[in-house]
């Protein structure tokens, strides 16, 4: 067993445990922080698979932007910081766990059976190629996505914006 | 001009009203003025276009189908979008677009209750599509479609905007609202006829080389493709379908009810154009395709027409309801038309053609007037009316004029139809029973006296005399500018056709002669 593989398994283990923490912790902030770790570990995994560009994007977009958004969201919605027993819906817990477990079982079963003995051979950096493809073959979806983002931006602003009158009332 | 002659022009004349009706439905209900203006403009455009076609039409070959086209429509049954006009359909087509314009002009200020210009005007335009389409269709299926399209708007017009009074109907225990009874009777009666007609069309289709094309079927029919019991049956069902629409005695009873109940514009269009669909069907389809059968049935048609003339006139004498009287007069006048058709001679059928146009113009005007009067007086009971000349001088004068035209005064349009029909009936096609036709002719001539009788009596009861006290303190409005502008053109047309019948004969004569010589040889 090479060091590379040990690192990989370690990363995977950490990945699962941080993810588990995301959905089980009763502290909102902890959940968010755990997600940061999950993503960071995913990014590491991507690096291990030698897709450094995507890994970087993940870090930049997710950790840099999305998580910040989440934290803002958490704060604005005045979620109780610190431990909160009411964060989970206890009635759903068992059934949810069962379903989630079944899905996990289902997926793992199929995937493990389907990819028995397959290996990945990493082939070094491919960022340059990726850039070329992205801006040639996939340039149209790329542009399209930028519009989606713009729309989301405008939509988000519109939705979240407070009415002027309401602001005044709040201040009073 | 190329566009006009290759069928496009005709198609536009037919479908432009339909498109306009559709656009009207898109205009918000609140914008009544816009709706009215739009409907008027689109009907005017249609009319102008039909007038343009009139100039495009080559009168020197009026016996040929012109300005038409043939496009494959429903391939699986070999039904084509085949259209075209000749001298027979041209006057009726122009009449149809013309009357529609007038109907819309009248409707601008005189909508029947419940006022809803959107629906009403859209229905008129849909109706126009049906009418124009029937006159240009040269394919049996197309013809049938247009023939039936006409029913629906008229049904709604009578059913929604019709007379709301409640009346008893013989044979029924409960009292019924007039408009409901009339609209259902109209719809079911005509549908009954046209259902049989469709059967006839299908019969022709299967016997006649699987074609619905009228010109092709005429070729087949005149070369003797349809004979025997089959042909008799087909003619019988075609007769049923067209005779209901004309209407011929004894299939006429939907007419008085429908006319009485219909709103003014509805009865105008009904009288002016819809009735012509039936008689047009005889001339365009039944006779040329099945000439031998037509010959066999002609005496029966003549007798029924003669009965219709006398019967309609006598029934008129018994009426106390103004609109009902005029409705029954239609039975009589269409009797003359059918008598002319039954003679199967150029004279008779030309008489029928001019009779159709004249009846459309004159009876249309009569219904305009009586409808307007019913609206002003809130009654159609002639016992209560009287002294109309004093109360509404303009309407009264026009009513007098129109009644004179209707009773067949020479020099006005109505005369030619009556006189020429009698002329045709005196000497019918060779081989027809002369006694029957001459008897019918005498009956028709007596009918003209009765016609004069009931119309003059109507004038005496409605127009003349001193007005009764109940009207004296009422504020009655004489014809306004909208009404006059809808009526005066009809008056002018009545005089023009009366003085110069070539307006109609010029178009029809060649076509009728060609049709008959093809059907009966020589």
């Amino acid at each position: 067993m090479e060091i590379f593989e040990i690192v990989t398994y370690f990363v995977l283990l950490l990945l699962v445990s941080t993810a588990l923490r995301v959905v089980t912790t009763s502290n909102v902030i902890h959940a968010a922080i755990s997600l940061v770790f999950t993503l960071a570990l995913t990014s590491v995994l991507f690096l291990l698979l030698s897709t450094e560009f995507v890994a970087l994007v993940l870090v930049l977009v997710y950790i840099g932007a999305v998580i910040v958004l989440f934290l803002f969201g958490i704060m604005i919605t005045r979620a109780p910081l610190g431990k909160n027993a009411e964060l989970d819906n206890d009635k759903n817990k068992k059934l949810g766990a069962a379903i989630a477990g079944s899905i996990f079982f289902l997926f793992s079963y199929i995937l493990v059976n389907g990819f028995d003995g397959q290996v990945v051979v990493t082939s070094g950096s491919s960022t340059e190629l990726l850039g070329e493809i992205l801006l040639s073959r996939f340039v149209f979806p790329f542009e399209l996505v930028s519009f989606v983002l713009l729309a989301a931006l405008i939509g988000g602003i519109t939705l979240a914006r407070k009415d002027e009158a309401l602001i005044d009332e709040d201040q009073v | 001009m190329e566009l006009l002659t290759n069928g496009m022009g005709l198609s536009v004349v037919v479908f432009f009203p339909l498109i306009s009706a559709f656009i009207i439905t898109l205009i918000p209900k609140a914008q009544e003025q816009l709706i009215k203006r739009f409907a008027l403009v689109s009907s005017l455009i249609t009319f102008v276009l039909s007038a343009v076609l009139l100039f495009q039409f080559d009168f020197s070959s009026a016996d040929k189908l012109q300005l038409g086209n043939k496009i494959s429509w429903i391939k699986s049954i070999n039904a084509n979008y085949e259209i075209g006009i000749d001298g027979i359909s041209l006057p009726l087509l122009v009449l149809s677009t013309f009357i529609t314009v007038l109907a819309i002009i009248y409707s601008i200020e005189h909508l029947p209750e419940p006022k809803s210009p959107k629906g009403f005007l859209a229905l008129i335009l849909v109706l126009e599509t049906g009418m124009n389409g029937t006159f240009v269709a040269l394919d049996l299926i197309l013809f049938f479609v247009f023939f039936e399209i006409v029913l629906l708007p008229m049904y709604f017009m009578i059913g929604i905007w019709g007379d709301k009074t409640v009346r008893t109907v013989s044979g029924f225990k409960n009292q019924i609202e007039t408009r409901l009874y009339a609209s259902i009777k109209f719809f079911v009666f005509t549908l009954f006829g046209s259902a049989f007609m469709l059967l006839g069309f299908l019969g022709l289709y299967y016997r006649g080389n699987k074609t619905f094309s009228i010109p092709e079927l005429i070729e087949l029919g005149t070369s003797g493709a349809f004979t025997g019991t089959f042909a008799t049956l087909v003619f019988a069902v075609l007769f049923l379908g067209f005779a209901v629409k004309v209407p011929m005695w004894p299939l006429h009873t939907w007419l008085p009810d429908a006319h009485t109940a219909a709103p003014t514009v509805g009865s105008v269009l009904l009288a002016a154009i819809l009735l012509k669909l039936g008689s047009y069907g005889f001339v365009r389809i039944a006779i040329p395709i099945l000439p031998d059968q037509a010959k066999a049935w002609a005496p029966a048609i003549a007798i029924l027409s003669a009965i219709g003339i006398i019967y309609g006139s006598l029934a008129c004498l018994a009426q106390t309801d103004l609109k009902r009287l005029i409705a029954f007069s239609s039975v009589g006048h269409m009797g003359f038309v059918m008598l002319g058709i039954a003679s199967l001679t150029p004279i008779g059928i030309n008489a029928a053609m001019i009779g159709m146009v004249a009846h459309g113009v004159i009876t249309g005007l009569l219904f305009f007037l009586s409808g307007s009067m019913a609206h002003t007086y809130h009654t159609r009971d002639m016992g209560r009316l009287g002294g109309n000349m004093k109360l509404l001088p303009k309407t009264g004068a026009l009513l007098g004029f129109t009644a004179m035209a209707s009773l067949g005064l020479p020099g006005l349009a109505g005369f030619w139809g009556e006189f020429m029909a009698l002329l045709g009936a005196y000497n019918p096609l060779d081989g027809l029973n002369i006694t029957v036709f001459r008897t019918s002719m005498v009956a028709g001539a007596i009918g003209t006296v009765l016609t004069a009788g009931y119309l003059l009596w109507m004038l005496q009861r409605v127009n003349l005399g001193e007005p009764s006290d109940e009207w004296l303190d009422k504020d009655l409005h004489d014809a306004d500018v909208y009404e006059l502008s809808a009526w005066i053109p009809l008056v002018v047309l009545t005089v023009l056709i009366g003085v110069f019948p070539k307006l109609i004969f010029g178009a029809t004569n060649d076509a009728v002669i060609a049709m008959l010589s093809k059907a009966f040889g020589g």
């Binding site: 590379f4 995977l12 699962v16 588990l20 995301v22 959905v23 909102v28 959940a31 999950t38 993503l39 995913t42 995994l45 291990l48 897709t51 995507v54 994007v57 977009v61 997710y62 999305v66 958004l69 989440f70 969201g73 958490i74 604005i76 919605t77 005045r78 979620a79 964060l87 989970d88 819906n89 759903n92 059934l95 949810g96 766990a97 379903i99 989630a100 899905i103 996990f104 997926f107 995937l111 493990v112 990819f115 028995d116 003995g117 397959q118 290996v119 990945v120 990493t122 990726l130 493809i133 996505v145 989606v148 983002l149 989301a152 988000g156 602003i157 519109t158 939705l159 979240a160 407070k162 | -």
Partner: protein
């Protein structure tokens, strides 16, 4: 490198996301769980891309798009949550039951 463990981890991430969606009361937490699901999908895409050595690198490109869309989704989602919160003074999705019969 054997692919099976990675795939299992991705499946686990997915299931955990589902669990989070089903169990969490706070709407923000639900959105958080959705990110987990997206992430598991990303892992799969990258893995298969590398494994198949796709010349067009469609796996990576898809991942990039997913990340972008996810960012958009989060933006909108949070905005919606914010609106809801503003109107109802809570982010508890159990209380958003307007569609009840």
């Amino acid at each position: 490198m054997i692919v099976q463990p990675v795939l299992v981890v991705a499946a686990a991430l997915f299931s955990l996301g589902i669990y989070g969606i089903l169990v969490r009361r706070n709407a923000v937490m639900v959105l958080l769980s959705i990110e987990l699901i997206l992430n598991s999908v990303n892992i799969n895409f990258i893995l298969f891309d590398t494994m198949l050595a796709d010349t067009l690198m469609q796996g990576q490109i898809f991942t990039i798009f997913i990340i972008t869309i996810a960012a958009a989704e989060v933006g909108i989602g949070l905005a919606i949550v914010l609106m809801l919160f503003r109107n109802r003074q809570t982010a508890n999705i159990n209380e958003f039951d307007l569609m009840k019969w």
